[in-house]
Structure formats: C-alpha cells, structure tokens
C-alpha cells in the first residue's frame, strides 16, 4: 500500500488488515455459519486482523431481532472460536452486527438489506465495501443474485468493491457449472468472485508450494523419471450425517473428487509459477487440470471404482450401512467411495499414474499426498538383504498431524546386512505450533483483502468437471461396489492397484 506512509513491506510485525468493509452472510443461521464463519470472524477480530470499521450483516429466513441474532452469534463464536474468549472484543464486534429477516424472494427484505448497508456506510464508515457470502444451497443462487442485481448491491465501482463468496459444490457437472459461472459472472465481475475450497486454506497445502519451490532437493526428483506413482487420499470416518438429501444427489466424486482431490493433484503436479501471485499460480494449476486424462473407456471398469458402505463396525461402534441412513433410498446407487487412476499428460508426468481416492466410513480421518518413488535401478546387495525394502516415499500429510514423512531404507542393526524401511517425520506443529489460522479464517481474510491466490478460478472448476463428467457418465448405470464400514474401501479398489503391480498405502 504505497499510499500510506506507515506501511512498510519490511515491517512484518504489522498484520495485513483489510480496508473498512462489511461482510454480508446469506444463510447466517446455517451450520456452516455457526461452526465456521462466525467463529472465524471473531478470531480475526481477536487477532486484530479486522479493519477498524467493520460491520457484519446476517440475512436469513428466521424471524429474529438484532438482539436474538447477536446472542446466537455470540454463543456460536464462543463455542467454536479457536482463540481465547475476550468479552470486550466481542462487544466491539457486536456493536456492528445487524440481522435482516426475510426470504430470498422477498423484495422488501432485500430493499431493507440494501438500506441497512447504505446506512452502515455512513454510521460505521465502511466506505461502501462489502463481501457477500452465499452460505446457501446452490438452488437459491439465482434468486439471491437477481435480488442483488436488482438492488444494485453487486456493483463494484472505483471507490468501492463488492465481492461474492461461493461455496462448493460449484454445479453438478460441466454444463451446470458453466451455467452457474455465467450467472455469477453476470452479476459480479469475474475478479470479484471467490470460490471457497477450504482445503486450499490449510497451511500444509500452502506449505506444499514452499516445499517444492523454495527448496532445491525435492524438485529434481519431482517427475516421472523418479516418481513411480502418486496416491492422493482423503478419507473420512464419519458417514453422511444429516446431509442425506444433498448427498443422494451428489455422491463422493462430485462432493470431494471434483474439488479437493483435483486441487491437491494440481498443486502436486503443477510447474513452477512465474511468480507467487494469484494469477500465475492459477495459470499453472489450470494447465495441469487441462492435462489430466481419465482411463480409456475399456479400462474404466478396472480403473474407475466407486463404492458404497454397508453396515459394519467403526471405532468400536456399530455403523449403519448407507442405504439404512435416514433419508436414503433403500436401493440408492449413490457412491460414498470413489477411486480412480488419472494421468497427467505432460513431459514431467507422462506415464505416472495418479491414484485418487476418497470415501466415507473409512477407518480414520486422514488426507495425504504420497509420492511413491521408483526402486533404485541397481541394488548392490544380495536379494535377501533388501527383501524388506519397499519404495521410497514422500508423504505430505494435509490433515491431521499436518506435516511430512519421508520413508527410506536403513540398515537393521546387527551383524548381517539387512535393509528395511524407516520413516522420518516432520510434524508441522512441532516446529511451528503458532496457532495457525483456521482455513476459513485465512480464506475470509483473503476475500476481504482481495487476494485470490487460494481460490480456484472458474476455468479451473470447469476443467475439473471435464475430468469428472466422463467418470460420472460411465458410472451412471452401474451399481457401486459394496464395502464394510470401517474398512479401506471395496475390494475392487485394491484390485485396481494390483493390476498395476502396486498397493494402496495405508495412511
């Protein structure tokens, strides 16, 4: 900010603080708002990262007054905040909290919202800047966006910015995501649209870029000459909870594979960006996503597996099968597990399979990226010495226990030569336990600052759908493979790697 003499890029003690602005949340009474958004706003305020002039507007159908809303917001923030509770911080924040009640097709309610915003501009000095967070089902988007257009709330001008934050799912296939993008872009300009993929707000994901591009020792082996295969896993131990309605229509591939896993793949496989800026990083990610290939039609049976959990035992408790969950059809063919072999058709990655898998009701909650290296071309040891030696691995643990593991062979102490795998661990939280900001906190701050580095652009979303669509088309009339709750996916997924002479890593 060259216009402020007190800003100095060398002065890194001073936090990046957004300009005065308002945050408008649609669907403020929802789960996400209560568990993530409101606590994130409080945490930001507590860390001194919100501008001095800041206002929070909530919009929802529920019939509430400012006082009731403020009470809800307070208890939600207090319950889920990550930083210590300071009443005075909340009180200051609560002064600038407003609630507007109304349904999304109610013109009056939106007029009231617009006038509230205009009023805050004066009384709270927010200078007309506002970010709109659409924490609502995508089906409501058109209505809300049209209302915003009608009331002129969405127009950015040189003196003020207006931004919109959209949550996944960004459509259900390429066609619908195009439609959605066109709709959002018709109301907001493309630069003002922020698509939240909260995985990208996680420190480890950002650390992946530091790991690859700030060090010398990883990049030379980060290619098909040395890498045998890549496994990207996102496992959840929970079921679908109360989201049956949503999940029945979506399934694991659309819910997770399309966004989180493909974004992780893009960050793992992308070339070095020209500079560490939003535009350049997105450009490189887009290149990778466009280079992703799906299995050939004949191979789909073997290399695109989906599964559905059956009744089983997980963590010492009986777990219902998917079809027995409330709200799920008894003959549902929605998948709760998806595993697929993808290729990245670039010089760097040609011939290296990328195995992606995600599932619910797997033994533990874990997300990781594992690079499995080729075996040494020649081993000077007797074959019996290295029987226990596997492939070298570099594992980036995204969650939990954010960090990195390096797996390599080492001699077993003793009088004979015997080489066995050992693991070397780097635990991010051990070196820096500084309470790293929660993903939503970081992303929310970036929206207010206008920094789009960690947000996928609509071309990326469309490229991702282009990967998923052929898979969905193949799966359309098939039944998912069953797997027991509490095991690592269906047998067919193991067979998929066995066919290539490989094994899934147990995360």
């Amino acid at each position: 900010m060259p216009t402020n003499p007190l800003r100095d890029p060398r002065d890194r003690r001073l936090p990046r603080v957004p300009e005065p602005c308002a945050l408008v949340v649609f669907g403020i009474t929802g789960d996400l708002s209560r568990k993530k958004l409101l606590p994130a706003v409080y945490d930001l305020a507590n860390r001194g990262l919100l501008p001095t002039n800041f206002a929070l507007l909530g919009f929802a159908r529920r019939d509430w007054g400012d006082v009731e809303f403020s009470e809800l917001a307070r208890s939600a923030a207090r319950e889920h905040a990550r930083t210590p509770w300071r009443e005075e911080v909340w009180e200051r924040l609560a002064n600038s909290v407003r609630f507007v009640q109304g349904s999304f097709d109610d013109d009056n309610a939106f007029d009231e919202l617009a006038s509230n915003l205009a009023e805050l501009e004066g009384s709270h000095g927010i200078g007309g800047n506002a970010a709109f967070y659409l924490s609502i089902p995508p089906a409501m988007f058109p209505t809300v966006l049209k209302q915003m257009q009608r009331t002129g709330m969405a127009e950015s001008s040189p003196d003020r910015w207006r931004r919109v934050v959209v949550e996944k799912p960004f459509g259900t296939d390429l066609a619908s995501s195009r439609e959605l993008n066109e709709l959002v872009d018709s109301v907001f300009t493309a630069d003002d649209v922020f698509r939240i993929d909260h995985y990208l707000g996680k420190e480890t994901v950002q650390n992946l870029l530091a790991l690859r591009f700030a060090n010398t020792m990883f990049e030379p082996i980060w290619n098909g000459h040395h890498v045998d295969s890549v496994q990207i896993t996102m496992a959840e131990d929970v079921g679908i909870g109360g989201r049956a309605g949503f999940y029945e229509k979506t399934g694991a591939a659309r819910d997770v594979l399309q966004n989180h896993l493909l974004q992780l793949l893009a960050l793992t496989a992308m070339e070095e960006p020209v500079e560490f800026s939003a535009e350049e990083i997105r450009t490189e990610k887009l290149k990778v996503l466009r280079a992703v290939s799906v299995p050939a039609e004949d191979d789909m049976v073997q290399f695109a597996i989906r599964g559905q959990y059956q009744q089983g035992w997980l963590a010492g408790q009986r777990a219902n099968g998917y079809r027995q969950e409330d709200g799920v059809a008894s003959d549902s063919s929605t998948e709760t597990y998806a595993a697929v072999r993808l290729g990245v058709e670039t010089r760097r990655w040609a011939g290296v399979p990328f195995y992606l898998r995600t599932g619910k009701r797997l033994p533990r909650r874990v997300t990781e990226i594992a690079l499995v290296f080729k075996r040494a071309p020649h081993l000077p040891f007797a074959p019996t010495d290295t029987e226990e030696l596997g492939h070298n691995q570099l594992v980036i643990r995204v969650q939990p226990d954010e960090g990195m593991t390096l797996k390599f062979g080492s001699k077993v102490p003793g009088s004979v030569m015997e080489v066995r795998d050992v693991a070397m661990d780097f635990l991010y939280g051990e070196q820096f336990t500084e309470a790293s900001p929660e993903a939503y906190e970081r992303l929310l701050l970036d929206v207010l600052l206008g920094d789009a580095t960690l947000f996928p652009r609509n071309a990326e979303v469309e490229a991702s759908w282009a990967v998923i669509d052929p898979l969905e088309a193949f799966w359309a009339d098939t039944e998912p493979h069953p797997y027991r709750a509490g095991e690592w996916g269906p047998r067919a997924a193991d067979a998929m790697l066995e066919a290539d002479g490989r094994l899934w890593r147990r995360p």
Binding site: P5, L6, D8, G48, R92, D425, F426, E434, A435
Partner: protein
C-alpha cells in the same frame, strides 16, 4: 524432571539425552533455541513467559541464572525437564555460581539445538554492551528490554550505540498494537481518498520516559519524514506509556487515537464516526512469542531507534559481534587501557565515544581465555587462586582500591 547439583556441562548434556530416550514420544526436531538470561528474582516470571512462548514456537529452552559472581568456588546446578512445567519441549534451567557465570557459554554451547537459530533474551537490566556477554555473541537474535532499566530512554540510547542487526527490544514489541492501529487508520484515510496520504506532523502524548512511547514517536518520524515527539500528559498513560497519538495530515485533516483505558483505543478521523479498536495488554509470553516469529533483522526498529537517538547507519553495521572480555568484578580494569603496554588501544568498535564516556571502554584481549586466569588454570581446582580477587569485589564502592589491584592483571591481558 531431574535436578543435578554441583554438576558439569557434560553431565547436563548426558542427562538431556537420557531423558529424551526415556521420554517416549518427544519432539524430533526443534526450530530454535531460546536462551533466557534472568536474575534469580525474576526467574519464575521469565520461565512462565518463555514456556508460554515455547507453546507457540517450540524451542529448546535454556534458562541461565547467574548468581554470586563473587563466590569463591564456581558451581553449576541444573534442572533438566522434558515436557514439564516449562512447556512441551526440552528445557534446562541452570544456576551458575561464581566465575562460571562469566563463562556461561561453556555450558550453553553444547546444549544448543544443532544448526538452528539461537535467540538470547535478557530478562534483567539489559547488558551495557551485548558483546560483553558471550551468550549474546552466540545468538542470531538478541532481545533486551529497555523498560527494565532505571532510565529506559538512556537504555534506548545505549541500545543504539551498541546496535547490531538482529538486536531487538521488548519496548519495541510493545508498540506493535499501537503501530498496527495507526497504520490501519491511515489505510482507511487513504482508502477514502483513493490517494496518497501525507503526514505533516503530530505528537505522541504520554510518558517521555517510556521507551515504547519514544519508539512509536521515532517510528512515526522515520516513516513520515517529520519530527514527532513525545509530549508529557496529565493523564496517566497506559502500559505502553502512550495516552494518545495525533497525526496532522495533508488537506488539513487530523486523526487521533486515544487510549480508552478499557483495553481499547478510540479513533477519531475526519468524515467517519468515532470507532473503537481493541488494544489489549499483552503478556510477557505473548511479546516473546511475537519476537520468535521472525528471526531476521528488523529494519523498522533500527530506523525508529535512529530517529529517537540521532544515531545513523544502524542497519549497515555488521550483524555479528566479537566477544569482549569483561569482568564485572573489576569494572575499572579498562579505565587505563594503555596501562602496562603500548598496544592496548584496541577499544571495541561497538563502544562509541558516548558509551565510553558513561562507562570506560574495555580492552579487547585476543580471546577471553588468554585474559582470564580462571579459564586457564581452572579455578575449581585451585580455589586458593581467588584470594587476590576478594578485595576487588568491593571495588564498585572503592574505585581506588580496584585501581590498585588491577594493574598487575592488566599486564597479562596483552
């Protein structure tokens, strides 16, 4: 936790390794070592703050307490803790008696985490010259606290004379909330105008004796290119020594921040209603935590220090120091640097004329071993050797006696 009485440095290293083996899941690596130098009376306070900081930035914690330098027999007592009251990491609290205190680095060096940065923090009256404390010389970053000196502003001047990049002061750390608020207030002015903001002048109202208030004024002066001073106020200023800050901007606008005594500050700026921001008091642990976040040199601090003290070229100084042997039991030893030899003019570059006016510049022997009989002959084995040092202990009150005692030693320094 193990306490080792009358022990040696090697025994401490062994004990640490032994505890690490039996401790089960311990940290596989640490990013830095924090050396805390504290007075006996402030050890508890320092331990609390350091362990709070270690929660945020895992580090190996080495607490050095120097006691009774005049004690005839040196002794080391050490407490080795892993995952105990000093936080999750490894910690060693060392009490050093006698002349061992002058050679604390001999115990500390083997305990430093391998190839990781070292931060030394003095939780006591800051040393006059950091070069005189080997624990400061081995550190990549040195944290003093001018507020602990009897005259904080003089201490700040002293810091400027002694400055080397990588030095920092908690008086500066305490200014961060004020500085952040000031910067974001000007952000909103420039955001409203959509154009450059110029600061033509202003003042910091508060306690002119406060190092933090002076540094905020110095920082504003350095950033804005005009002189901004600390003026006394009738109100009792808050913990940072600042009651309010007023900046006169171009276009005849004024912004003003006022401490509201409730953990916040009131911002007055043109065309905007009054706003309140949080300006919480931070604990010592949080301050140390902020310091450990960055380990590179802090140019804005050196510029603020220049503006306060009139010193120049601070950031261009070399960022490492040579150890200067100094014996607090013979503070007069350097009053006649040329005494006894023709080659004793080697006053250290860091001891500027002003510093030597206040306290005589010490001579620089080639190394401390050469100058110190204790290190050469091992006092522990021959305590009788100390008999001639005893009278010197009194010397601060009787300079003539010291002057009488010192010259015989002087000849040996070069």
């Amino acid at each position: 936790m193990t306490t080792l009485w009358d022990t040696t440095g090697s025994a401490v290293v062994k004990e640490l390794a032994a505890q690490r083996r039996t401790g089960g899941a311990v940290m596989s690596g640490v990013a830095l070592t924090l050396v805390v130098v504290a007075d006996e009376g402030r050890v508890a306070e320092a331990e609390q703050a350091a362990s709070a900081a270690a929660e945020v930035h895992p580090c190996r914690l080495l607490v050095v307490v120097r006691r009774q330098v005049e004690a005839p027999v040196p002794r080391l007592d050490a407490e080795v803790l892993i995952g105990g009251r000093l936080g999750p990491g490894e910690a060693v609290v060392m009490r050093m008696y006698g002349r061992l205190g002058l050679h604390a680095e001999s115990v500390v060096l083997p305990l430093l985490a391998a190839d990781a940065p070292v931060v030394t923090w003095w939780h006591e009256t800051p040393p006059e010259l950091i070069a005189r404390d080997a624990l400061g010389v081995i550190a990549n970053r040195r944290i003093t606290d001018s507020a602990m000196a009897a005259d904080p502003v003089a201490a700040l001047r002293n810091r400027a004379h002694d400055y080397a990049p990588g030095d920092t002061d908690l008086a500066w750390t305490r200014s961060t909330p004020w500085r952040a608020t000031l910067a974001s207030t000007l952000d909103s002015v420039s955001g409203r105008r959509g154009d450059l903001v110029r600061v033509h002048g202003g003042q910091v109202e508060g306690d002119p004796e406060s190092a933090t208030a002076q540094l905020v004024a110095g920082w504003l002066s350095a950033r804005c290119g005009c002189t901004i001073q600390v003026v006394p106020t009738a109100r009792v200023p808050g913990s940072a020594g600042i009651d309010s800050v007023e900046l006169r901007l171009d276009q005849d606008e004024v912004v003003r921040l006022q401490d509201d005594r409730k953990g916040g500050a009131v911002i007055n700026q043109p065309f905007r209603p009054e706003a309140i921001v949080a300006l919480p008091d931070r604990s010592l642990g949080e301050l140390i935590g902020e310091e450990l976040r960055r380990l590179d040199s802090d140019e804005p601090y050196s510029e603020a220090l220049e503006a306060v003290t009139g010193a120049t070229g601070l950031s261009a100084r070399p960022n490492c120091r040579d150890h200067v042997w100094y014996d607090p039991m013979r503070p007069q030893q350097t009053s006649e640097p040329t005494n006894g030899n023709g080659n004793g003019n080697g006053s250290p570059p860091s001891a500027s004329p002003a510093a030597s006016a206040a306290t005589p510049a010490p001579t620089v022997p080639d190394d401390s071993t050469d100058a110190d009989e204790v290190a050469e002959s091992g006092e522990h084995d021959s305590p009788a050797d100390d008999s001639d040092e005893q009278p010197v202990v009194q010397s601060p009150d009787a300079p003539s006696a010291a002057a009488g005692g010192a010259p015989t030693r002087k000849a040996r320094t070069r």
